[in-house]
């Protein structure tokens, strides 16, 4: 009994000293990387820019902190042969351990995405312990990715947060872009029946000024970060940009619309009636007819009228039916235009191939090899749209309609 206690006592005492504090690291020793930008130099090496959060300068984090006087981020640049080597090289400049578990944004420059593709980069990211597969990927258009992560933002103290939030909100409220994370990208990239999409960002304004505190001292700011376009990838490389209405059409077909405005022309007047989608469902059916694949896309939209700029009697159900018809045409046009564009570039961004794989796996095996280059461009896609006006908003007839009646 006594010996048992003595032994267990010694084990208990020795244990902490023998094991040490394995892999323990204090918060003070971490440099939290919020965004990681990758550019490419002419000599083929990568240039990585790290956006680090400087916790002491994040307003609200600490009472009486140096909020609003210093930037809440710090950036460091390093070069290397692959993305992780870049990170290793950066540690000579940063006094702390670069910590990637909270990296929410991976910015790739357009140049790099077009020339080299993302395949080799993403492997290192996914293989690494700290990187999350939920990290969002974006492409910086026309500017260096390194410059993009150096731009300060006013409302969101950490610029990476701002980029992700605007991505999420435009996807949700506007339906013109798409948030893609590592996982989604890789899944689509390895699938033969689908190609990945990545949102693009531009910075408009004076970039150099936007990197300094001047950016935050005026209400307008020297430059703004904007979501712009959806990048289409083929075999891991950026091949095309989808923009404007076409990008909305992409989201219609992809069943990704949550809320989106649709403006229609009415009696010759451009964009006279604005409609807002509140619920949407897209069903894609893939079949083969005589060895040829046939795709039918059924879009069902439901929404409210938002603004009416022409005198129209919306209390009349027949008028509403006519509006619905125009809406259907408009959505159909958008969707078909996008599909045609995709067929032109031979990229099945909608995952039609995947659908066919699911519905007819045997036939898919025959088509798989030449799907992107032969079958998809020649595809016969039948788009049917069913639009429904749930409410006319908080008013019945527009003021204009009532005014006209008075003058009659």
């Amino acid at each position: 009994m006594n010996r048992k206690w003595i032994i267990s006592f010694f084990v208990a005492v020795c244990l902490p000293f023998l094991s040490g504090c394995w892999s323990s690291i204090e918060l003070k020793e971490l440099a939290i990387v919020s965004a990681y930008a990758l550019d490419k130099k002419e000599d083929g090496t990568y240039v990585g820019t790290f956006q680090l959060i400087n916790p002491m300068n994040v307003p609200g984090a600490l009472q009486g902190g140096a909020s609003g006087q210093k930037p809440s981020i710090a950036t460091y640049t390093a070069t290397g042969g692959n993305p992780l080597e870049v990170a290793d090289n950066a540690s000579t400049k940063v006094s702390r351990d670069l910590y990637f578990a909270h990296t929410s944004l991976l910015v790739i420059s357009e140049e790099l995405a077009r020339e080299e593709g993302l395949s080799s980069i993403l492997d290192a990211m996914e293989r690494g312990l700290e990187f999350r597969t939920t990290t969002n990927i974006v492409i910086s258009r026309d500017i260096k990715a390194g410059d993009f992560v150096q731009v300060l933002t006013a409302i969101d103290q950490v610029p990476a947060e701002k980029a992700i939030k605007s991505l999420d909100f435009t996807e949700k409220l506007y339906g013109e872009n798409i948030a893609t994370n590592l996982q989604k990208f890789i899944k689509a990239a390895v699938s033969t029946g689908k190609e990945p999409l990545v949102s693009g960002f531009i910075v408009s304004g004076d970039i150099e000024k936007a990197k300094t505190m001047e950016q935050l001292q005026s209400s307008e700011g020297a430059a703004t970060i904007e979501v712009n376009g959806i990048g289409v990838f083929k075999e891991g490389k950026l091949v095309n940009w989808i923009e404007g209405e076409k990008s909305e059409g992409t989201l219609w077909v992809l069943d990704q619309i949550q809320q989106a405005p649709v403006d229609i022309d009415w009696e010759g007047q451009k964009e006279a009636i604005s409609y807002k989608v509140i619920r949407q469902k897209t069903n894609v059916e893939a079949k083969t007819k005589g060895g040829k694949p046939v795709i039918s896309v059924k879009i069902r939209a439901e929404g409210d009228l938002r603004a009416i700029e022409v005198p129209v009697n919306v209390t009349d159900p027949h008028v509403l039916l006519r509006i619905e018809k125009v809406l259907q045409e408009k959505i159909k046009d958008e969707a078909e235009a996008t599909i045609q564009e995709a067929q032109k570039t031979k990229t099945d961004i909608f995952g039609f191939g995947e659908k066919l794989h699911q519905s007819e796996p045997d036939n898919w095996k025959k088509l798989e090899q030449e799907w992107q280059d032969v079958y998809f461009p020649a595809l016969d896609v039948d788009v049917t749209v069913e639009a429904f006006i749930r409410r006319t908003g908080m008013r019945n007839n527009p003021y204009l309609f009532d005014l006209n009646k008075k003058s009659d």
């Binding site: 918060l27 959060i53 916790p55 002491m56 994040v58 984090a61 600490l62 909270h102 950490v158």
Partner: protein, 537 residues
């Protein structure tokens, strides 16, 4: 005689020799000698009161009344003993057997008995009974006159409920057993008395319900009590420590309560209560872990509410066990688990703190333990000062000086509140000690260390027994039927069986179909009357 007295005062050692000389087993016939023995044995203590009564018609026959001041009920002695004996002096005593006359005609107290040996005489005398000695009699009459100043039945300080009885046990064992008897009016409520403690001669009772309790448990309790040979028993805690199963473990295997309703409830489940004179804390055996998260009030409020509260208690216990450990692990090993915004806040707070998280946690925890201990032991008037100083030291000073981060203060404060909210102090204090072990294991190996500690803890708990009952019953071993009174508290109408693990002789608790059955039609009780049927709106 005076020479002896002189010697006694001068040389205490001599006195012992004298005592040995007069050491006699049974009472002698001479009253003076008997009284001398009493005086000698009690060292002539002034609170031993001896009153001589002589009968005028027969001066040869003298009697003496002996009692201890303060332990007896004075009105009883005055009215029913002294007064009536003096009255009887006027009468002519024809009967030869004086004690028979006394017990049948003169002394009007509830209980009278005759004793012949000194040991029981002293025990009775010191318990508050009055001893009547008579010349020529080699026995003593013991009149039950126990009384004196005692604390009244008050509300228990340590176990407070909003609903339910406000009565709490007192220091008097008779009052305590009576409080339980008042709840369970059943002849099967059996009490066994014994006397333990070589010096203190403390009264001790075990109580159980015959016909419900497993006789093996009672036998086990008797056996364990029989081998108790302590010098003194000042509280039920002494008994607890010599009869419990695991004396060196951190977890209590015997529970105690100050509430008669809690004792009654446990007796009805088939447990045994041990009352100890001089303490309001009544021991209950066997005890299982889950009991420490239950209060009598759980059964008085409706079951969904008490279920939620019980879950909350287990949650609080977990917080008080691993709260700071969790924080230390998450900030030094698993930073990826903290949401980014929160991480930035915590990081900005720890930026200026010079210590690692574990040192911070230890500083705060030790400070808190010091404050708690100080607050507990200080007189009420000073404890207010302590709380002010504590609030300033913890709340303001430490943070402003940048020694501890505000997040750590929040964690420690939450842990402290959670620990104080655990209903049973015994289990809360176990968690309080184990918390430090968990903090260290978290600092060494993060969540891995915490999980390792929890596994070891559960293994230890599963190995414990309380009077033959596994400590984690009914969770391990699993008893489906008893599960409805664990972390969840099922409805009263579903408690048809007593807990299986206690092997009750009569396992059926109540009639079936106790669920209330309201009428199918939702109508008012007085629907027949004219006013009644308009009530439903």
């Amino acid at each position: 005689m005076s020479y002896r007295k002189f010697l006694k005062k001068m040389k205490p050692k001599e006195q012992r020799k004298d005592l040995e000389k007069v050491e006699q087993k049974s009472i002698g016939t001479s009253i003076t000698e008997n009284l001398n023995i009493i005086k000698q044995k009690t060292g002539n203590s002034p609170d031993i009161i001896i009153r001589m009564l002589t009968f005028s018609h027969d001066p040869e026959v003298s009697t003496a009344i002996v009692h201890v001041d303060g332990l007896v009920d004075n009105p009883t002695i005055n009215e029913f003993l002294v007064q009536s004996m003096e009255d009887s002096v006027q009468e002519k005593l024809e009967e030869k057997d004086l004690f028979k006359v006394f017990s049948e005609k003169v002394v009007a107290v509830s209980s009278l008995e005759t004793l012949k040996d000194w040991d029981s005489l002293f025990l009775a005398l010191l318990s508050g009974d009055t001893v009547i000695l008579a010349d020529g009699k080699n026995e003593a009459l013991i009149a039950s006159t126990r009384g004196g100043e005692r604390r009244l039945v008050e509300q228990s300080d340590s176990e407070i409920t909003l609903r339910g009885s406000k009565e709490g046990f007192t220091e008097s064992i008779n009052t305590n057993t009576a409080l339980v008897r008042r709840i369970i009016k059943n002849p099967n409520l059996w009490v066994e008395s014994m006397n333990l403690g070589k010096q203190t001669n403390t009264d001790l009772s075990i109580m159980y319900i015959n016909g419900i309790v497993d006789t093996d448990i009672v036998k086990e309790v008797r056996q364990r009590l029989a081998r108790v040979n302590l010098d003194a028993i000042l509280d039920s805690g002494y008994i607890e420590q010599v009869i419990e199963d695991e004396s060196s473990g951190l977890f209590p295997t015997i529970t105690h309560t100050e509430r008669p309703d809690a004792v009654a409830g446990n007796l009805l489940e088939g447990r045994v209560a041990i009352f100890v004179s001089g303490t309001p804390h009544v021991l209950i055996v066997p005890a299982v872990m889950i009991q420490f998260f239950q209060t009598p009030e759980d059964y008085y409020v409706r079951f969904p509410i008490s279920t939620l509260i019980r879950m909350l208690r287990v949650f609080m216990f977990l917080i008080s066990l691993i709260g700071p450990a969790f924080y230390v692990a998450v900030t030094t090993f698993h930073q990826e688990m903290i949401p980014t915004d929160l991480l930035v806040i915590i990081a900005s707070q720890t930026e200026s703190v010079p210590f690692p998280a574990i040192v911070e946690a230890l500083i705060m925890e030790v400070t808190f333990e010091i404050l708690r201990e100080a607050g507990l032991r200080m007189p009420n008037k000073i404890s207010a000062t302590i709380s002010i100083v504590g609030a300033l030291v913890i709340g303001q000073g430490v943070i402003q000086a940048g020694i501890v981060s505000p997040a750590m203060v929040i964690v420690v404060a939450t842990t402290a509140i959670a620990s104080l909210a655990t209903p049973n102090y015994d289990i809360a204090i176990s968690a309080r000690l184990l918390r430090f072990a968990f903090m260290l294991s978290a600092a060494i190996a993060g969540f891995y260390g915490i999980i390792l500690g929890l596994i070891m803890l559960i293994v230890h708990l599963a190995s414990l027994r309380s009077f033959g009952i596994p400590y984690l019953t009914p969770l391990a071993p699993l008893e489906w039927k008893s599960l409805k009174d664990t972390i969840i508290r099922g409805p009263i109408w579903s408690f048809n069986e007593r807990p299986e693990s206690l092997h009750p002789q009569n396992p059926v608790r109540q009639g079936k179909n106790q669920k209330p059955l309201p009428p199918l039609k939702r109508r008012m009780v007085r629907a027949d009357t004219k006013e009644g049927d308009k009530n439903e709106s």
